[in-house]
Point group: C2
Chain length 331, copies 2
């Protein structure tokens, strides 16, 4: 597969420059950095920072904007920025209300973010974090939950905390909301075709036989839990939704938000058809869907496939936060 | 390649049902039809209708909304709706201000739309049309321009005419603006990988050797004008931009709008990097870009690649129309 890039080593810089060219009304890039900052961000609220490796576009710069992230900081392809760069991002948006870092649960991401947080605290800054670990393909709830990866549900955390921060919630309140949201959220992904290694054109991220799909695959090509022939969108929706529902006690009062995420090369046609199947199966399962969104939000280069996130709306405010307006262009 | 669908014969209906499930606040589907209508559309303006075959999502339902299309009508995969179905769409949004149909220039689309227009006029309705033929890969300007296909520039026509209609322009004025915009617009596409035939999984839309790209390819897999090995995003941007600039007299006063369109499976990373190259080459070519937008707007199933549209902004109002707000979810 061809990827429309120049030299692989220039991808990080050029993708961020391209994004700021396309959305110069909302975001800007701090020169000589991989830090994207919201233009004219509010100084009267907690600032939110996201980030990670390159190769997951439009994450996270597409979610920088009023009512979502204040800034994001990227490293290289599939690699988070070093702690010092994250510290620089913290300083670039720091206000007296403090900074909250939203971390996707991967060992490297966690290490650099916690190191940056430590450095910032040593300089007297108020910084805290929320760790997103929504990928339920690895372990059952409460069983080594810390090993679960942070995937597309992160976008819902950005949205909920972004709207809550704009409403004036404190750093401690945001951390509490974030932790609750993460605990109430589960995501399961499926790849229908491997993406391409950015560094090595022609080399797939992983091997997948023709007309086969891989359940539970990670956003960096980590192995899934089952490979089988593709049958239908409905079959796929059924597998994902059933596995996700298993994590919840569902009753008449339960309300859910759903995120359908394209993995990179997934088409709007496929997302709509899959959404239709999710919709029908939700009715059959008596699952109340209060909020639904589909798009390619957190991707893995040009991998094809979808992930499905289920979030139980345990507080009424969460729906309000999800529905609040934002200027972030990829929401 | 796997496409996440159910039976190919159910694609049209299920993709439209999925779209209305996802965007029930903006659009609705007329039962037992492939017609999508804007909810609560204004009765105090000309209604705009787009449409064509299925397989080009989010076109055109993603552009139905306040300030863009009033309705769209689809046929089957890569096939426009029959004239009677288009007539039904006309009637479903008809007001005393009339209806304008925006037609992509393909023989079948043109035939059914003009037939529907004739039937509507016979019933005493005011209906007119604009034919979009922005694809300049086939012929030089003024040389058989009518043979040029209608491709991604159509989205700019939807946006400009949608905002103009909302401002209260008459049917005759909208047709005049539309014809002028089409004449000032050129698009050139390139495929970096063939998409999949929806009806026949595993069968590509066309053959393209590994690591090769095809310039000038059509949105239904029509042959392009040159196949060559992929070199770089910059090389590709240079080829497309140079060919497009050739159609214009560029001077200091010239202002352009640019649309960068993903062909279906193109990633946000690639679009941003390609946009960065277009941006740098525009500066080198002293091309003033007043408006730029990138995304996957008019696609060809899961084809990879991009198309670049250049529109010379001959009237100041065009920029205002492009920048006006709309509720259409895919803009």
């Amino acid at each position: 597969m061809v990827l429309i890039i120049n030299k692989p080593e220039d991808v990080s810089d050029q993708v961020l420059q391209g994004a700021t060219f396309l959305h110069s009304d909302i975001i800007e890039k701090i020169p000589n950095s991989n830090i994207i900052v919201q233009k004219h961000f509010s100084k009267n609220q907690v600032a939110l920072i996201g980030g990670g490796g390159i190769g997951h576009e439009p994450s996270d710069f597409g979610f920088v904007g009023d009512g979502m992230l204040t800034a994001c900081v990227n490293g290289k392809i599939f690699q988070p920025a070093p702690a010092k760069e994250i510290l620089r991002a913290i300083k670039s948006v720091y206000t007296k209300y403090g900074v909250l870092i939203i971390i996707k649960n991967f060992e490297r991401d966690l290490n650099v973010c916690l190191e940056a947080e430590k450095l910032a605290r040593e300089e007297g800054m108020q910084v805290d974090h929320v760790i997103v670990n929504d990928d339920c393909s690895i372990e059952k709830r409460d069983n080594y939950k810390k090993r679960r990866r942070g995937v597309s549900g992160t976008v819902l955390v950005h949205k909920i905390l972004g709207a809550a921060a704009k409403e004036g919630k404190s750093l401690a309140e945001l951390k509490e909301i974030g932790d609750k949201v993460v605990y109430a959220m589960n995501t399961l992904g499926v790849a229908t075709a491997s993406g391409t290694c950015i560094e090595t054109p022609n080399k797939p991220l992983f091997e997948l036989p023709e007309q086969h799909i891989s359940y539970g695959v990670g956003i960096h090509g980590e192995a899934g839990y089952r490979v089988e022939p593709f049958r239908s969108s409905e079959n796929l929706a059924n597998e994902l939704l059933n596995k996700l529902i298993d994590f919840y006690d569902v009753n008449e009062e339960s309300q859910f938000a759903i995120l359908i995420n394209g993995m990179g090369a997934t088409t709007a046609m496929e997302l709509a058809i899959f959404a239709h199947d999710v919709s029908r199966l939700s009715v059959l399962n008596e699952l109340n869907i209060s909020f639904v969104k589909a798009g390619s939000f957190l991707t893995s280069t040009n991998m094809s496939g979808v992930s499905l996130t289920l979030l139980k709306l345990q507080e009424n405010s969460w729906l309000r936060f999800l529905e609040a307006p934002t200027s972030a262009f990829a929401w």
